[in-house]
Symmetry: C2
Subunit: 323 residues, 2 copies
């Protein structure tokens, strides 16, 4: 059993590789069977603490894995992260359990990579400006991924508490010491929205935090926050302005994407308007962006088999030298 | 994340401690809530290979754990064990994943300890002779456990292929260099049965391997093999001769104990005749052995929360010095 720490994941696994892996995983999901059993929820205590067990099996790469994620809302008082996750990777020719991989960095990277893949296919080729609404840990992965697929010149960061935006700015600047672009913190969320060629919405908001009316023509939106059916991060106007609404998986979106579920339930919008799953665009069954003016939206709630594919890639990176 | 290998489990975790832990776990299961969600089965390949994910949560000790067991029947051709298991232990105050514990030795020890607890309460105090039918890896744990609770003078071993019995004899003799008793290999299974004060049946047989008519008065039987509803390791006569039939959990027995399920379905015996769960005897709600003459039987298929309690104990043994 190989133990792989957060530090080792960050050192051995690049966003470039992760985007390749996620794109490949979506491709596999279209051409062969992937097994994703229902996840198991174990409730612990009265404050909503729970642990999720999320197994999945990707026959074509010969690995299965289970992600174990504990979500403990009360952890802030102990200065311990609210979400703690780890992955056990098993080789599926003989069932050997080959690795235990700390999964916070992995989750951040693969969540970023989903947006990276979506942005690659759906944002304008000449997109230069990224606006990020919400500056938590996931937003760092979003920026790394989008920097990988577009030549950005400007990043706008908005966060309710400004210090988190400043921290994120510093982290990104340290990661790209040679980058010629710059990062600006903004106080007005809609100012950030109005300037975006690419917009990332990554908050845990219950109700929309920005107004769709400020989104300009040609913007691509990655909405990755609020992954609960009762949380609506972006408004219906945003949804209606988008000529293409894409999800990572339709099943996941119907269960967890509040930005879609709530308008669908209210009759303001319908799941029938979904353009496609992201995998359909990856394999070329559906077109990505077709005009410079269209507004596109990708809502991601994550999908378990990506964890298995990324975990296998991280494990193999210790044995196989890559380009 | 602390990684604990098979070798470290065997070095740090005694059968004596394991029996204490299993007895305590049964006690906890009677006086407080233990959460055992349905296990998840992930089928892999055409030869029956599958992986089981078995989470459980024991609030009173503040730990949850998931046992991940891959069962790959085709492994023999690679000289790899058919069953490979590992446990991820999580502390349940903050959800931190604290240990990854190799679980083959743990399973062997805790399966032994169940029989140890049953034997302690149900065998005659003056039991001197143990007969073991089937000499696979679990039987070693059975002997360690029973040696812990009774002063044995003689052990009879029976196995279809004699070499496995010889191997087990050697292993046990090495473990107890100062033991004054002796171990004899027998060729006739019913000879072993007829000599037993305590009988362990630990085979993967589909149909009964010994005849109940050879069981003498006063024998206690631990039946721990054939944990599938279609496998019947002991015959109906054995069952009917027992004045007390005890199971580790009724739910588990009804699902997996073929020795009980098959006679119940055929109308030859009924689950209504179950005397109690083992936990009822541990806490004193039900009597264990009451006369020197009665024949008692404990059928165990294992139960997930014991793994969590034992895993927690193993983990803590690295930090807490015990007597």
């Amino acid at each position: 059993m190989k133990i792989i720490s957060e530090e080792e994941v960050l050192k051995n696994y690049s966003m470039k590789q992760c985007i390749e892996d996620v794109e490949r995983a979506f491709m596999l999901s279209k051409r062969s069977e992937i097994v994703v059993p229902f996840r198991t929820i174990l409730h612990q205590g009265d404050d909503g603490a729970h642990t999720l067990y999320m197994p999945s099996y990707v026959p074509e790469i010969n690995y299965s894995a289970v992600k174990i994620a504990s979500i403990f809302p009360g952890n802030e008082k102990y200065y311990i992260p609210r979400i703690q996750s780890t992955i056990v990777l098993s080789e599926s020719k003989t069932g050997q359990h080959v690795a235990n991989i700390a999964a916070s960095a992995l989750t951040m990277l693969r969540t970023g990579a989903i947006s990276g893949v979506a942005t690659k296919h759906m944002a304008r080729e000449d997109a230069k400006t990224l606006s990020v609404i919400g500056c938590g840990v996931q937003s760092y992965g979003q920026i790394l991924a989008i920097m990988e697929v577009r030549e950005l010149e400007k990043i706008y960061l908005y966060n309710r508490t400004k210090n988190k935006a400043l921290d994120l700015k510093e982290k990104v600047m340290n990661h790209y010491p040679d980058w010629s672009g710059d990062i600006q913190i903004v106080d007005d969320v809609n100012e950030a929205v109005s300037k975006a060629d690419i917009l990332v919405s990554s908050t845990s908001a219950n109700t929309p935090v920005f107004s769709g009316k400020y989104i300009k023509a040609g913007t691509h939106i990655n909405a990755i926050g609020s992954c609960e059916p009762i949380k609506q991060e972006y408004d219906v106007e945003t949804l209606k302005k988008a000529s293409k609404v894409v999800v990572d998986t339709l099943e996941g979106a119907k269960g967890e994407a509040g930005g879609l579920v709530i308008p669908d339930e209210k009759g303001e919008w319908s799941f029938e308007n979904i353009y496609s799953e992201l995998a359909d665009i990856v394999v070329g069954e559906k077109a990505g962006r077709e005009t410079d003016e269209e507004i596109t939206l990708m809502d991601s709630v994550g999908v378990g088999f990506l964890d298995t594919v990324c975990a296998a890639s991280i494990y193999e990176s210790f044995f196989i030298k890559r380009h």
